[in-house]
């Protein structure tokens, strides 16, 4: 029925892993990356982790942004890993691809990552968010930092453009703060 060919050019591919606890807006951050990248014509996929921990408040998700059709939506070895709390850092530090990027939330994590074969970026996400107006925007701070360091994923304009679509009506009054937080993260990176 359908016939196509794959050539194997040198396409852009970024696998991103977000991790934290429930309520930190992990899933939303992942979706916003997708929406923004979509807006810029990229292929994207997003998949929440719903693995071993059913309860207990952990929340993770995997995002892929690519120029090409996406194979597996899973990201066992992420190019970029964003961790928002201590257990996430401990658990996911090891899986970052050598040469990859680890962004960690210095506000909540007290001991720094130890790997030396990856790029490491500390962001005081909660503090910056608090300064922007609410600690609840810490996820946006991390997102701002991410797109600064990996501009191929999505531009700040693209991210700002999807803010209203991504955030549910109930929380949209926070978007003023979210914008500031995004900018704060962008600057901090």
């Amino acid at each position: 029925m359908s016939r196509s060919t794959v050539t194997g050019g040198d396409a852009m591919y970024v696998g991103i892993f977000f991790a934290g606890f429930g309520g930190q807006g992990i899933i939303l951050a992942g979706r916003m990356v997708c929406l923004a990248a979509m807006g810029e014509g990229k292929h994207v996929s997003h998949i929440p982790s719903y693995g071993a921990e059913m309860r207990g408040g952990t929340a993770n998700c995997s995002v892929v942004v690519s120029d090409e059709e996406i194979g597996s939506p899973l990201v066992p070895r992420p190019d970029v890993c964003v961790v928002m709390n201590t257990p996430s850092l401990l658990k996911f530090q090891p899986i970052v691809k050598p040469g990859g990027l680890l962004i960690w939330n210095e506000s909540l994590i007290h001991s720094a990552p130890e790997r030396t074969d990856i790029e490491i970026l500390a962001v005081r996400a909660n503090d910056i968010a608090e300064a922007a107006g609410s600690y609840r925007s810490a996820n946006m701070v991390m997102l701002g930092a991410l797109i600064k360091r990996r501009p191929s994923v999505a531009s700040m304009n693209a991210v700002l453009a999807v803010l209203n679509e991504a955030v549910s009506a109930r929380h949209r009054e926070l978007n003023q703060v979210n914008r500031k937080a995004l900018a704060g993260g962008y600057e901090a990176a």
């Binding site: 921990e53 059913m54 309860r55 207990g56």
Partner: protein, 251 residues
């Protein structure tokens, strides 16, 4: 004149049958309290080495990791059938079927009623939290009228899906059960009552009596979308009137 000496006495600590590991339950989840009660009763009756726990599919699916007794997983809803198989092979053990409301009153309705009707010599601990906790908050047979859940997003509408089912009252129409009681774990007082009911339910097995059923109203802050203490208040204000606490049968 001798001088008073003040000694320290540990008056509340982990029961021996409760494994010294963190559980996976959400903060404020009633399952944790109920596990503790079970462990205390098992210890007090001295039956740790003759108890078999049947854990259901539900948030308490890993109960066998927390209670230090022989443990058996059961398929969703089938715990009473599994318990029947176990007890019929080992009549001298104390077999506990621990089940949630989705497990016991939805998919497992037939197994629940028939194990009770046969008078299987088991003890059923029925954790009624008015929701499917494990799968993320769907409507349970015990969800309250107008309660919003993932699968009753506009509130449970009795005209469409009926009223919450009262398990104790249902089973109380059967002849064989020897003990039926509804308890709660929303306060120290109700918890202590629940413990007495569990003790009675287990002792009935030790004494070779028959089928015991203990329903325990239990908080599911996550499924209800509430803070734990809000959940406690909701249970007392909304659930208890629909599921009145008390003993229905004690033979």
């Amino acid at each position: 004149m001798p001088v008073d000496t003040v000694q320290e006495k540990v008056v509340y600590e982990r029961p021996r049958s409760l494994a010294d590991v963190p559980n996976h339950y959400c903060p404020g989840c009633g399952h944790g309290i109920i596990h503790k009660l079970l462990a205390q009763c098992i210890d007090e009756l001295g039956i740790q080495e003759s108890t078999i726990l049947v854990a259901p599919v539900g948030c308490s699916v890993l109960a066998y990791n927390y209670l230090r007794v022989d443990g058996c997983e059961a398929a969703h809803g089938r715990a009473p059938a599994v318990a029947t198989g176990l007890k019929r092979v080992h009549p001298d053990t104390t077999v506990i079927s621990y089940q949630g409301d989705g497990d016991l009153l939805a998919i497992g309705t037939a197994e629940t009623i028939h194990a009770a009707n046969r008078g299987e010599k088991i003890t059923v601990i029925f954790v009624n939290n008015a929701i499917y906790g494990m799968t993320g908050g769907q409507m349970a047979p015990t969800s309250l009228q107008a309660q919003k859940t993932k699968t009753s997003p506009y509130g449970r509408n009795p005209a469409d899906v009926g009223f919450p089912i009262r398990a104790c009252e249902l089973l109380n129409t059967l002849q064989a059960p020897v003990f039926i009681e509804r308890c709660a774990v929303s306060s120290v007082k109700t918890i202590l009552k629940a413990k007495r009911a569990i003790m009675k339910g287990l002792r009935n097995q030790v004494e070779g009596k028959g089928y015991s059923f203990i329903e325990i109203l239990s908080m599911c802050p996550t499924g209800w979308g509430m803070e734990p203490r809000e959940a406690v208040s909701w249970m007392e204000a909304e659930m208890v009137p629909v599921f009145p606490l008390g003993n229905l049968r004690d033979r």
